[in-house]
Symmetry: none
Subunit: 141 residues, 4 copies
Protein backbone atom coordinates (compact mmCIF):
# COMPACT_ATOMS: atom_id res chain seq x y z
CA UNK A 1 0.00 0.00 0.00
CA UNK A 2 1.18 3.51 -0.80
CA UNK A 3 0.53 6.59 1.30
CA UNK A 4 0.13 9.81 -0.63
CA UNK A 5 -0.17 13.44 0.45
CA UNK A 6 -2.42 15.85 -1.39
CA UNK A 7 -3.75 19.36 -1.07
CA UNK A 8 -7.04 19.76 0.76
CA UNK A 9 -9.71 22.33 -0.07
CA UNK A 10 -8.37 24.87 2.44
CA UNK A 11 -4.95 24.63 0.78
CA UNK A 12 -6.55 25.08 -2.63
CA UNK A 13 -8.31 28.25 -1.50
CA UNK A 14 -5.03 29.74 -0.31
CA UNK A 15 -3.43 29.03 -3.67
CA UNK A 16 -6.34 30.69 -5.47
CA UNK A 17 -6.32 33.66 -3.12
CA UNK A 18 -2.63 34.36 -3.66
CA UNK A 19 -2.90 34.01 -7.42
CA UNK A 20 -6.00 36.20 -7.61
CA UNK A 21 -4.36 38.91 -5.56
CA UNK A 22 -1.51 39.06 -8.08
CA UNK A 23 -3.98 39.00 -10.97
CA UNK A 24 -5.80 42.01 -9.53
CA UNK A 25 -2.47 43.77 -9.04
CA UNK A 26 -1.56 43.41 -12.71
CA UNK A 27 -5.14 44.07 -13.80
CA UNK A 28 -5.79 40.79 -15.62
CA UNK A 29 -8.82 38.73 -14.54
CA UNK A 30 -7.79 35.09 -14.55
CA UNK A 31 -9.13 31.57 -14.50
CA UNK A 32 -7.45 29.69 -11.67
CA UNK A 33 -7.51 25.92 -11.22
CA UNK A 34 -6.12 23.78 -8.42
CA UNK A 35 -5.69 20.03 -8.82
CA UNK A 36 -4.58 17.28 -6.50
CA UNK A 37 -1.48 15.11 -6.96
CA UNK A 38 -3.39 12.84 -9.34
CA UNK A 39 -4.49 15.74 -11.52
CA UNK A 40 -8.12 15.90 -10.38
CA UNK A 41 -9.74 19.27 -9.79
CA UNK A 42 -10.12 20.50 -6.20
CA UNK A 43 -11.14 24.11 -6.77
CA UNK A 44 -11.60 26.56 -9.61
CA UNK A 45 -12.46 30.22 -9.89
CA UNK A 46 -13.01 32.37 -12.93
CA UNK A 47 -12.50 35.97 -11.91
CA UNK A 48 -15.09 38.31 -13.42
CA UNK A 49 -13.84 38.93 -16.95
CA UNK A 50 -11.73 35.77 -17.19
CA UNK A 51 -11.74 34.17 -20.63
CA UNK A 52 -14.07 31.31 -21.50
CA UNK A 53 -11.37 29.30 -23.27
CA UNK A 54 -9.28 29.67 -20.14
CA UNK A 55 -11.83 27.70 -18.13
CA UNK A 56 -10.44 24.58 -19.76
CA UNK A 57 -6.89 25.78 -20.32
CA UNK A 58 -6.32 26.64 -16.66
CA UNK A 59 -7.57 23.19 -15.65
CA UNK A 60 -5.37 21.47 -18.22
CA UNK A 61 -2.30 23.42 -17.11
CA UNK A 62 -2.94 22.45 -13.50
CA UNK A 63 -3.62 18.84 -14.51
CA UNK A 64 -0.35 18.68 -16.41
CA UNK A 65 1.75 20.28 -13.69
CA UNK A 66 0.43 17.99 -10.96
CA UNK A 67 0.00 14.70 -12.79
CA UNK A 68 3.27 14.97 -14.76
CA UNK A 69 5.10 16.66 -11.86
CA UNK A 70 6.48 19.29 -14.19
CA UNK A 71 5.88 22.99 -14.88
CA UNK A 72 4.11 23.53 -18.20
CA UNK A 73 6.84 25.97 -19.23
CA UNK A 74 9.34 23.14 -18.80
CA UNK A 75 7.32 21.13 -21.30
CA UNK A 76 7.30 24.20 -23.50
CA UNK A 77 11.09 24.23 -23.57
CA UNK A 78 11.31 20.67 -24.89
CA UNK A 79 8.19 20.71 -27.09
CA UNK A 80 10.14 21.91 -30.09
CA UNK A 81 10.29 20.27 -33.52
CA UNK A 82 13.37 18.10 -33.66
CA UNK A 83 13.44 17.43 -29.91
CA UNK A 84 12.36 13.98 -28.80
CA UNK A 85 9.45 15.26 -26.71
CA UNK A 86 7.89 17.18 -29.56
CA UNK A 87 4.17 16.51 -29.87
CA UNK A 88 3.63 15.88 -26.15
CA UNK A 89 0.93 18.58 -26.07
CA UNK A 90 -1.62 16.50 -27.95
CA UNK A 91 -1.38 13.61 -25.51
CA UNK A 92 -4.07 12.59 -23.01
CA UNK A 93 -6.74 13.92 -25.33
CA UNK A 94 -4.82 17.17 -25.74
CA UNK A 95 -4.91 17.86 -22.02
CA UNK A 96 -1.11 17.95 -21.69
CA UNK A 97 -0.31 21.65 -21.78
CA UNK A 98 3.00 23.07 -22.89
CA UNK A 99 1.81 26.65 -22.44
CA UNK A 100 3.38 28.52 -19.53
CA UNK A 101 1.15 28.98 -16.46
CA UNK A 102 0.99 25.58 -14.76
CA UNK A 103 3.16 24.78 -11.76
CA UNK A 104 3.41 21.75 -9.50
CA UNK A 105 2.83 22.46 -5.82
CA UNK A 106 5.62 20.86 -3.84
CA UNK A 107 5.64 20.29 -0.08
CA UNK A 108 8.60 18.60 1.61
CA UNK A 109 9.99 17.59 -1.76
CA UNK A 110 6.79 15.86 -2.86
CA UNK A 111 4.32 16.99 -5.52
CA UNK A 112 1.00 17.33 -3.69
CA UNK A 113 -0.96 19.12 -6.40
CA UNK A 114 -0.83 21.78 -9.07
CA UNK A 115 -1.96 25.27 -9.96
CA UNK A 116 -2.92 26.46 -13.42
CA UNK A 117 -3.65 30.00 -14.58
CA UNK A 118 -4.97 31.25 -17.87
CA UNK A 119 -6.28 34.49 -19.41
CA UNK A 120 -3.14 36.63 -19.56
CA UNK A 121 0.08 36.18 -21.46
CA UNK A 122 1.89 32.98 -20.54
CA UNK A 123 4.35 35.06 -18.50
CA UNK A 124 1.51 36.75 -16.62
CA UNK A 125 -0.08 33.35 -16.03
CA UNK A 126 3.24 32.03 -14.72
CA UNK A 127 3.73 35.02 -12.42
CA UNK A 128 0.28 34.63 -10.92
CA UNK A 129 0.71 30.88 -10.48
CA UNK A 130 3.96 31.52 -8.63
CA UNK A 131 2.26 34.17 -6.49
CA UNK A 132 -0.32 31.57 -5.53
CA UNK A 133 2.38 29.19 -4.41
CA UNK A 134 4.25 31.93 -2.53
CA UNK A 135 1.11 32.92 -0.65
CA UNK A 136 0.28 29.30 0.13
CA UNK A 137 3.75 28.73 1.53
CA UNK A 138 3.64 31.90 3.61
CA UNK A 139 0.33 30.90 5.17
CA UNK A 140 1.31 27.29 5.91
CA UNK A 141 3.93 28.82 8.22
CA UNK B 1 -27.68 43.62 -29.61
CA UNK B 2 -28.45 41.41 -26.61
CA UNK B 3 -27.74 42.19 -23.00
CA UNK B 4 -27.29 39.12 -20.86
CA UNK B 5 -27.38 38.81 -17.10
CA UNK B 6 -25.16 36.25 -15.47
CA UNK B 7 -23.86 35.25 -12.09
CA UNK B 8 -20.58 36.84 -11.05
CA UNK B 9 -17.92 35.15 -8.93
CA UNK B 10 -19.30 36.59 -5.69
CA UNK B 11 -22.70 35.10 -6.53
CA UNK B 12 -21.07 31.77 -7.33
CA UNK B 13 -19.36 31.70 -3.96
CA UNK B 14 -22.66 32.28 -2.18
CA UNK B 15 -24.23 29.39 -4.07
CA UNK B 16 -21.33 27.12 -3.12
CA UNK B 17 -21.39 28.27 0.49
CA UNK B 18 -25.08 27.48 0.90
CA UNK B 19 -24.77 24.10 -0.77
CA UNK B 20 -21.69 23.16 1.25
CA UNK B 21 -23.41 24.09 4.50
CA UNK B 22 -26.23 21.67 3.69
CA UNK B 23 -23.73 19.00 2.63
CA UNK B 24 -21.95 19.29 5.98
CA UNK B 25 -25.32 19.10 7.76
CA UNK B 26 -26.19 15.78 6.08
CA UNK B 27 -22.61 14.54 6.36
CA UNK B 28 -21.89 14.00 2.66
CA UNK B 29 -18.83 15.76 1.19
CA UNK B 30 -19.84 17.06 -2.24
CA UNK B 31 -18.46 18.35 -5.49
CA UNK B 32 -20.15 21.68 -6.24
CA UNK B 33 -20.06 23.44 -9.61
CA UNK B 34 -21.46 26.84 -10.60
CA UNK B 35 -21.85 27.76 -14.26
CA UNK B 36 -22.97 30.92 -15.99
CA UNK B 37 -25.99 31.29 -18.28
CA UNK B 38 -23.91 29.93 -21.20
CA UNK B 39 -22.97 26.80 -19.26
CA UNK B 40 -19.36 27.78 -18.66
CA UNK B 41 -17.77 27.16 -15.27
CA UNK B 42 -17.44 30.08 -12.84
CA UNK B 43 -16.43 28.25 -9.68
CA UNK B 44 -15.98 24.74 -8.39
CA UNK B 45 -15.14 23.16 -5.06
CA UNK B 46 -14.56 19.55 -4.12
CA UNK B 47 -15.13 19.22 -0.41
CA UNK B 48 -12.54 16.98 1.27
CA UNK B 49 -13.77 13.45 0.54
CA UNK B 50 -15.89 14.34 -2.51
CA UNK B 51 -15.80 11.69 -5.22
CA UNK B 52 -13.45 11.93 -8.19
CA UNK B 53 -16.12 10.96 -10.70
CA UNK B 54 -18.24 13.76 -9.27
CA UNK B 55 -15.69 16.36 -10.37
CA UNK B 56 -17.03 15.94 -13.88
CA UNK B 57 -20.60 14.98 -13.02
CA UNK B 58 -21.21 18.08 -10.90
CA UNK B 59 -19.96 20.27 -13.73
CA UNK B 60 -22.12 18.46 -16.28
CA UNK B 61 -25.22 18.81 -14.12
CA UNK B 62 -24.59 22.53 -13.74
CA UNK B 63 -23.82 22.86 -17.44
CA UNK B 64 -27.08 21.12 -18.33
CA UNK B 65 -29.19 23.11 -15.90
CA UNK B 66 -27.86 26.48 -17.03
CA UNK B 67 -27.34 25.93 -20.73
CA UNK B 68 -30.58 24.00 -21.24
CA UNK B 69 -32.43 26.14 -18.66
CA UNK B 70 -33.87 23.03 -17.07
CA UNK B 71 -33.35 21.08 -13.86
CA UNK B 72 -31.61 17.78 -14.51
CA UNK B 73 -34.39 15.97 -12.64
CA UNK B 74 -36.83 17.43 -15.16
CA UNK B 75 -34.79 15.81 -17.91
CA UNK B 76 -34.84 12.66 -15.84
CA UNK B 77 -38.65 12.64 -15.87
CA UNK B 78 -38.82 12.69 -19.65
CA UNK B 79 -35.72 10.57 -20.33
CA UNK B 80 -37.78 7.38 -20.38
CA UNK B 81 -38.08 4.87 -23.25
CA UNK B 82 -41.15 5.70 -25.34
CA UNK B 83 -41.02 9.43 -24.58
CA UNK B 84 -39.78 11.68 -27.35
CA UNK B 85 -36.89 13.07 -25.30
CA UNK B 86 -35.51 9.64 -24.52
CA UNK B 87 -31.77 9.43 -25.08
CA UNK B 88 -31.11 13.12 -24.41
CA UNK B 89 -28.38 12.18 -21.90
CA UNK B 90 -25.94 11.07 -24.59
CA UNK B 91 -26.06 14.43 -26.36
CA UNK B 92 -23.28 17.02 -26.29
CA UNK B 93 -20.73 14.27 -25.85
CA UNK B 94 -22.70 12.85 -22.94
CA UNK B 95 -22.53 16.12 -21.02
CA UNK B 96 -26.32 16.46 -20.86
CA UNK B 97 -27.15 15.05 -17.45
CA UNK B 98 -30.48 13.50 -16.59
CA UNK B 99 -29.37 12.66 -13.06
CA UNK B 100 -30.95 14.74 -10.30
CA UNK B 101 -28.72 17.41 -8.76
CA UNK B 102 -28.52 20.22 -11.32
CA UNK B 103 -30.70 23.32 -11.01
CA UNK B 104 -30.91 26.52 -13.04
CA UNK B 105 -30.40 29.70 -11.05
CA UNK B 106 -33.20 32.10 -11.87
CA UNK B 107 -33.29 35.82 -11.08
CA UNK B 108 -36.27 37.95 -12.10
CA UNK B 109 -37.59 35.14 -14.24
CA UNK B 110 -34.37 34.76 -16.17
CA UNK B 111 -31.83 31.93 -16.04
CA UNK B 112 -28.52 33.54 -15.03
CA UNK B 113 -26.57 30.37 -14.28
CA UNK B 114 -26.71 26.91 -12.81
CA UNK B 115 -25.61 24.84 -9.85
CA UNK B 116 -24.65 21.17 -9.96
CA UNK B 117 -23.94 18.83 -7.05
CA UNK B 118 -22.61 15.30 -7.03
CA UNK B 119 -21.33 12.72 -4.55
CA UNK B 120 -24.51 11.81 -2.67
CA UNK B 121 -27.72 10.18 -3.82
CA UNK B 122 -29.49 12.20 -6.50
CA UNK B 123 -31.99 13.36 -3.87
CA UNK B 124 -29.17 14.51 -1.57
CA UNK B 125 -27.54 16.27 -4.49
CA UNK B 126 -30.86 17.98 -5.32
CA UNK B 127 -31.40 19.05 -1.71
CA UNK B 128 -27.95 20.60 -1.48
CA UNK B 129 -28.34 22.35 -4.85
CA UNK B 130 -31.61 23.85 -3.63
CA UNK B 131 -29.95 24.90 -0.37
CA UNK B 132 -27.35 26.74 -2.41
CA UNK B 133 -30.04 28.64 -4.27
CA UNK B 134 -31.97 29.41 -1.07
CA UNK B 135 -28.85 30.82 0.56
CA UNK B 136 -27.97 32.86 -2.52
CA UNK B 137 -31.45 34.36 -2.60
CA UNK B 138 -31.42 35.16 1.11
CA UNK B 139 -28.11 37.00 0.77
CA UNK B 140 -29.07 38.97 -2.28
CA UNK B 141 -31.69 40.54 0.00
CA UNK C 1 -3.14 18.54 3.58
CA UNK C 2 -4.85 15.19 3.11
CA UNK C 3 -3.19 11.80 3.48
CA UNK C 4 -4.53 9.09 1.20
CA UNK C 5 -3.87 5.36 1.00
CA UNK C 6 -3.74 3.59 -2.32
CA UNK C 7 -2.88 0.21 -3.78
CA UNK C 8 0.71 -0.28 -4.91
CA UNK C 9 1.81 -2.40 -7.86
CA UNK C 10 2.39 -5.49 -5.72
CA UNK C 11 -1.19 -5.21 -4.43
CA UNK C 12 -2.46 -4.81 -7.98
CA UNK C 13 -0.70 -7.98 -9.09
CA UNK C 14 -2.31 -9.97 -6.28
CA UNK C 15 -5.74 -8.71 -7.33
CA UNK C 16 -5.08 -9.71 -10.95
CA UNK C 17 -3.70 -13.10 -9.93
CA UNK C 18 -6.78 -13.97 -7.87
CA UNK C 19 -9.17 -12.82 -10.56
CA UNK C 20 -7.27 -14.67 -13.32
CA UNK C 21 -7.26 -17.88 -11.30
CA UNK C 22 -11.07 -17.73 -11.09
CA UNK C 23 -11.30 -16.88 -14.78
CA UNK C 24 -9.26 -19.94 -15.67
CA UNK C 25 -11.46 -22.04 -13.39
CA UNK C 26 -14.63 -21.00 -15.21
CA UNK C 27 -12.89 -21.13 -18.59
CA UNK C 28 -13.42 -17.50 -19.62
CA UNK C 29 -10.33 -15.47 -20.57
CA UNK C 30 -10.76 -11.99 -19.09
CA UNK C 31 -9.47 -8.45 -19.28
CA UNK C 32 -8.52 -7.37 -15.76
CA UNK C 33 -7.84 -3.76 -14.73
CA UNK C 34 -6.69 -2.39 -11.38
CA UNK C 35 -6.97 1.32 -10.58
CA UNK C 36 -5.89 3.42 -7.65
CA UNK C 37 -8.24 5.37 -5.36
CA UNK C 38 -8.34 8.26 -7.86
CA UNK C 39 -9.33 5.97 -10.71
CA UNK C 40 -5.97 5.88 -12.49
CA UNK C 41 -4.68 2.60 -13.91
CA UNK C 42 -2.02 0.70 -11.97
CA UNK C 43 -2.01 -2.61 -13.82
CA UNK C 44 -3.86 -4.38 -16.59
CA UNK C 45 -3.76 -7.81 -18.15
CA UNK C 46 -5.67 -9.23 -21.07
CA UNK C 47 -5.63 -12.99 -20.77
CA UNK C 48 -5.04 -14.74 -24.09
CA UNK C 49 -8.45 -14.71 -25.77
CA UNK C 50 -9.85 -11.77 -23.79
CA UNK C 51 -12.09 -9.50 -25.83
CA UNK C 52 -10.80 -6.33 -27.45
CA UNK C 53 -13.79 -4.24 -26.37
CA UNK C 54 -13.12 -5.43 -22.84
CA UNK C 55 -9.73 -3.70 -22.84
CA UNK C 56 -11.59 -0.44 -22.34
CA UNK C 57 -14.63 -1.80 -20.49
CA UNK C 58 -12.55 -3.45 -17.77
CA UNK C 59 -10.66 -0.20 -17.24
CA UNK C 60 -13.87 1.83 -17.11
CA UNK C 61 -15.45 -0.54 -14.60
CA UNK C 62 -12.39 -0.30 -12.38
CA UNK C 63 -12.29 3.48 -12.80
CA UNK C 64 -15.94 3.76 -11.79
CA UNK C 65 -15.67 1.46 -8.80
CA UNK C 66 -12.64 3.22 -7.37
CA UNK C 67 -13.33 6.86 -8.24
CA UNK C 68 -17.05 6.71 -7.37
CA UNK C 69 -16.45 4.31 -4.47
CA UNK C 70 -19.30 2.13 -5.65
CA UNK C 71 -19.68 -1.29 -7.30
CA UNK C 72 -20.78 -0.98 -10.91
CA UNK C 73 -23.65 -3.38 -10.22
CA UNK C 74 -24.88 -0.92 -7.60
CA UNK C 75 -25.02 1.74 -10.31
CA UNK C 76 -26.79 -0.81 -12.47
CA UNK C 77 -29.56 -1.15 -9.87
CA UNK C 78 -30.32 2.59 -9.90
CA UNK C 79 -29.62 3.25 -13.58
CA UNK C 80 -33.23 2.54 -14.53
CA UNK C 81 -35.57 4.83 -16.47
CA UNK C 82 -37.69 6.71 -13.97
CA UNK C 83 -35.05 6.60 -11.21
CA UNK C 84 -33.20 9.82 -10.48
CA UNK C 85 -29.80 8.38 -11.33
CA UNK C 86 -30.83 7.23 -14.79
CA UNK C 87 -28.36 8.24 -17.45
CA UNK C 88 -25.34 8.16 -15.14
CA UNK C 89 -23.57 5.74 -17.51
CA UNK C 90 -22.90 8.37 -20.15
CA UNK C 91 -21.11 10.67 -17.71
CA UNK C 92 -17.37 11.36 -17.66
CA UNK C 93 -17.18 10.76 -21.38
CA UNK C 94 -19.13 7.53 -21.01
CA UNK C 95 -16.52 6.10 -18.65
CA UNK C 96 -19.02 5.62 -15.81
CA UNK C 97 -19.97 1.97 -16.07
CA UNK C 98 -23.23 0.54 -14.80
CA UNK C 99 -22.37 -2.95 -16.05
CA UNK C 100 -21.60 -5.51 -13.35
CA UNK C 101 -17.93 -6.40 -12.91
CA UNK C 102 -16.35 -3.43 -11.15
CA UNK C 103 -15.72 -3.46 -7.41
CA UNK C 104 -14.05 -0.99 -5.07
CA UNK C 105 -11.15 -2.40 -3.09
CA UNK C 106 -11.61 -1.50 0.55
CA UNK C 107 -8.96 -1.71 3.26
CA UNK C 108 -9.73 -0.67 6.82
CA UNK C 109 -13.00 0.90 5.69
CA UNK C 110 -11.34 3.08 3.08
CA UNK C 111 -11.52 2.75 -0.71
CA UNK C 112 -7.90 2.32 -1.85
CA UNK C 113 -8.56 1.29 -5.44
CA UNK C 114 -10.76 -0.74 -7.72
CA UNK C 115 -10.86 -3.87 -9.85
CA UNK C 116 -12.70 -4.25 -13.12
CA UNK C 117 -13.27 -7.38 -15.18
CA UNK C 118 -14.73 -7.81 -18.62
CA UNK C 119 -15.15 -10.54 -21.25
CA UNK C 120 -17.69 -12.85 -19.62
CA UNK C 121 -21.28 -12.29 -18.59
CA UNK C 122 -21.64 -9.53 -16.03
CA UNK C 123 -22.17 -12.18 -13.35
CA UNK C 124 -18.96 -13.97 -14.37
CA UNK C 125 -17.13 -10.65 -14.39
CA UNK C 126 -18.46 -9.91 -10.89
CA UNK C 127 -17.47 -13.34 -9.58
CA UNK C 128 -13.93 -12.97 -10.88
CA UNK C 129 -13.61 -9.45 -9.51
CA UNK C 130 -14.68 -10.74 -6.11
CA UNK C 131 -12.22 -13.61 -6.37
CA UNK C 132 -9.49 -11.06 -6.96
CA UNK C 133 -10.43 -9.21 -3.81
CA UNK C 134 -10.69 -12.42 -1.78
CA UNK C 135 -7.22 -13.50 -2.89
CA UNK C 136 -5.77 -10.06 -2.18
CA UNK C 137 -7.21 -10.09 1.31
CA UNK C 138 -5.97 -13.61 2.02
CA UNK C 139 -2.44 -12.66 0.99
CA UNK C 140 -2.32 -9.39 2.91
CA UNK C 141 -2.66 -11.62 6.00
CA UNK D 1 -7.86 -15.49 -45.05
CA UNK D 2 -5.02 -13.89 -43.08
CA UNK D 3 -3.05 -15.45 -40.28
CA UNK D 4 -1.60 -12.96 -37.88
CA UNK D 5 1.10 -13.42 -35.27
CA UNK D 6 0.87 -11.43 -32.07
CA UNK D 7 2.39 -11.28 -28.63
CA UNK D 8 0.64 -13.31 -25.95
CA UNK D 9 0.37 -12.34 -22.30
CA UNK D 10 3.48 -14.29 -21.33
CA UNK D 11 5.45 -12.38 -23.97
CA UNK D 12 4.03 -9.11 -22.69
CA UNK D 13 5.15 -9.89 -19.18
CA UNK D 14 8.70 -10.54 -20.38
CA UNK D 15 8.75 -7.21 -22.16
CA UNK D 16 7.53 -5.43 -19.02
CA UNK D 17 10.01 -7.29 -16.83
CA UNK D 18 12.98 -6.29 -18.96
CA UNK D 19 11.90 -2.69 -19.19
CA UNK D 20 11.18 -2.44 -15.46
CA UNK D 21 14.58 -3.88 -14.61
CA UNK D 22 16.24 -1.11 -16.64
CA UNK D 23 13.95 1.51 -15.06
CA UNK D 24 14.99 0.37 -11.59
CA UNK D 25 18.63 0.47 -12.67
CA UNK D 26 18.37 4.14 -13.74
CA UNK D 27 16.11 4.98 -10.80
CA UNK D 28 13.09 6.21 -12.74
CA UNK D 29 9.73 4.55 -11.99
CA UNK D 30 7.95 4.08 -15.31
CA UNK D 31 4.60 3.36 -16.85
CA UNK D 32 5.00 0.42 -19.23
CA UNK D 33 2.43 -0.61 -21.84
CA UNK D 34 2.44 -3.59 -24.21
CA UNK D 35 0.09 -3.72 -27.18
CA UNK D 36 -0.59 -6.34 -29.81
CA UNK D 37 -0.07 -5.97 -33.55
CA UNK D 38 -3.46 -4.22 -33.83
CA UNK D 39 -2.51 -1.64 -31.20
CA UNK D 40 -4.74 -3.04 -28.45
CA UNK D 41 -3.46 -3.26 -24.90
CA UNK D 42 -2.26 -6.63 -23.62
CA UNK D 43 -0.62 -5.59 -20.37
CA UNK D 44 0.27 -2.47 -18.44
CA UNK D 45 2.12 -1.70 -15.24
CA UNK D 46 2.67 1.59 -13.44
CA UNK D 47 5.69 1.18 -11.22
CA UNK D 48 5.21 2.80 -7.80
CA UNK D 49 5.87 6.49 -8.42
CA UNK D 50 5.18 6.43 -12.18
CA UNK D 51 3.46 9.57 -13.43
CA UNK D 52 -0.30 9.76 -13.88
CA UNK D 53 -0.07 11.43 -17.27
CA UNK D 54 2.21 8.60 -18.35
CA UNK D 55 -0.60 6.07 -17.85
CA UNK D 56 -2.05 7.32 -21.11
CA UNK D 57 1.16 8.39 -22.82
CA UNK D 58 2.81 4.99 -22.43
CA UNK D 59 -0.25 3.33 -23.95
CA UNK D 60 -0.33 5.79 -26.84
CA UNK D 61 3.35 5.27 -27.57
CA UNK D 62 2.85 1.52 -27.64
CA UNK D 63 -0.30 1.90 -29.73
CA UNK D 64 1.55 4.05 -32.24
CA UNK D 65 4.58 1.79 -32.46
CA UNK D 66 2.56 -1.38 -33.01
CA UNK D 67 -0.35 -0.12 -35.08
CA UNK D 68 1.78 2.15 -37.30
CA UNK D 69 4.70 -0.32 -37.24
CA UNK D 70 7.09 2.52 -36.52
CA UNK D 71 9.13 3.70 -33.54
CA UNK D 72 7.73 6.91 -32.08
CA UNK D 73 11.17 8.53 -32.36
CA UNK D 74 11.02 7.84 -36.09
CA UNK D 75 7.80 9.80 -36.23
CA UNK D 76 9.56 12.46 -34.19
CA UNK D 77 12.24 12.83 -36.85
CA UNK D 78 9.70 13.57 -39.58
CA UNK D 79 7.22 15.51 -37.46
CA UNK D 80 8.91 18.79 -38.26
CA UNK D 81 7.35 21.85 -39.93
CA UNK D 82 7.99 21.74 -43.64
CA UNK D 83 8.12 17.94 -43.84
CA UNK D 84 5.11 16.23 -45.35
CA UNK D 85 4.38 14.20 -42.22
CA UNK D 86 4.23 17.27 -40.00
CA UNK D 87 1.19 17.25 -37.73
CA UNK D 88 0.87 13.46 -37.58
CA UNK D 89 0.75 13.63 -33.75
CA UNK D 90 -2.76 15.04 -33.67
CA UNK D 91 -4.19 12.15 -35.67
CA UNK D 92 -6.35 9.36 -34.24
CA UNK D 93 -7.62 11.73 -31.60
CA UNK D 94 -4.09 12.69 -30.67
CA UNK D 95 -3.13 9.09 -29.91
CA UNK D 96 -0.34 9.05 -32.50
CA UNK D 97 2.74 9.80 -30.44
CA UNK D 98 5.85 11.42 -31.85
CA UNK D 99 7.58 11.41 -28.46
CA UNK D 100 10.41 8.94 -28.10
CA UNK D 101 9.69 5.83 -26.05
CA UNK D 102 7.54 3.60 -28.24
CA UNK D 103 9.03 0.70 -30.19
CA UNK D 104 7.51 -1.97 -32.39
CA UNK D 105 8.24 -5.53 -31.33
CA UNK D 106 9.46 -7.46 -34.35
CA UNK D 107 9.76 -11.23 -34.64
CA UNK D 108 10.99 -12.85 -37.85
CA UNK D 109 10.69 -9.56 -39.66
CA UNK D 110 7.06 -9.07 -38.67
CA UNK D 111 5.60 -6.55 -36.22
CA UNK D 112 3.82 -8.60 -33.56
CA UNK D 113 3.22 -5.85 -31.03
CA UNK D 114 4.63 -2.77 -29.39
CA UNK D 115 6.10 -1.45 -26.16
CA UNK D 116 5.65 2.06 -24.80
CA UNK D 117 7.37 3.68 -21.85
CA UNK D 118 6.73 7.00 -20.16
CA UNK D 119 7.78 8.92 -17.03
CA UNK D 120 11.42 9.69 -17.76
CA UNK D 121 13.05 11.77 -20.45
CA UNK D 122 12.29 10.52 -23.96
CA UNK D 123 15.79 9.05 -24.12
CA UNK D 124 15.29 7.21 -20.81
CA UNK D 125 11.93 5.95 -22.07
CA UNK D 126 13.58 4.74 -25.28
CA UNK D 127 16.37 3.00 -23.41
CA UNK D 128 13.95 1.15 -21.17
CA UNK D 129 11.74 0.18 -24.11
CA UNK D 130 14.80 -1.27 -25.87
CA UNK D 131 15.79 -3.10 -22.68
CA UNK D 132 12.35 -4.69 -22.66
CA UNK D 133 12.81 -5.93 -26.20
CA UNK D 134 16.33 -7.18 -25.51
CA UNK D 135 15.14 -9.15 -22.49
CA UNK D 136 12.22 -10.57 -24.43
CA UNK D 137 14.49 -11.72 -27.22
CA UNK D 138 16.98 -13.27 -24.81
CA UNK D 139 14.23 -15.28 -23.13
CA UNK D 140 12.61 -16.47 -26.34
CA UNK D 141 15.90 -18.25 -26.96
Amino acid sequence: MLTVNRLDLADARLLIEGAAEKAREIGVPMCIAITDESGNLIAFERMDGGKITSVTIAQDKSFTASAAKKATHDYNAVNVPGKLAFGIHTEVGGRISSVGGGLPVIVDGEVVGGIGLSSGTPQQDMDCAQAGIDYFESKRG
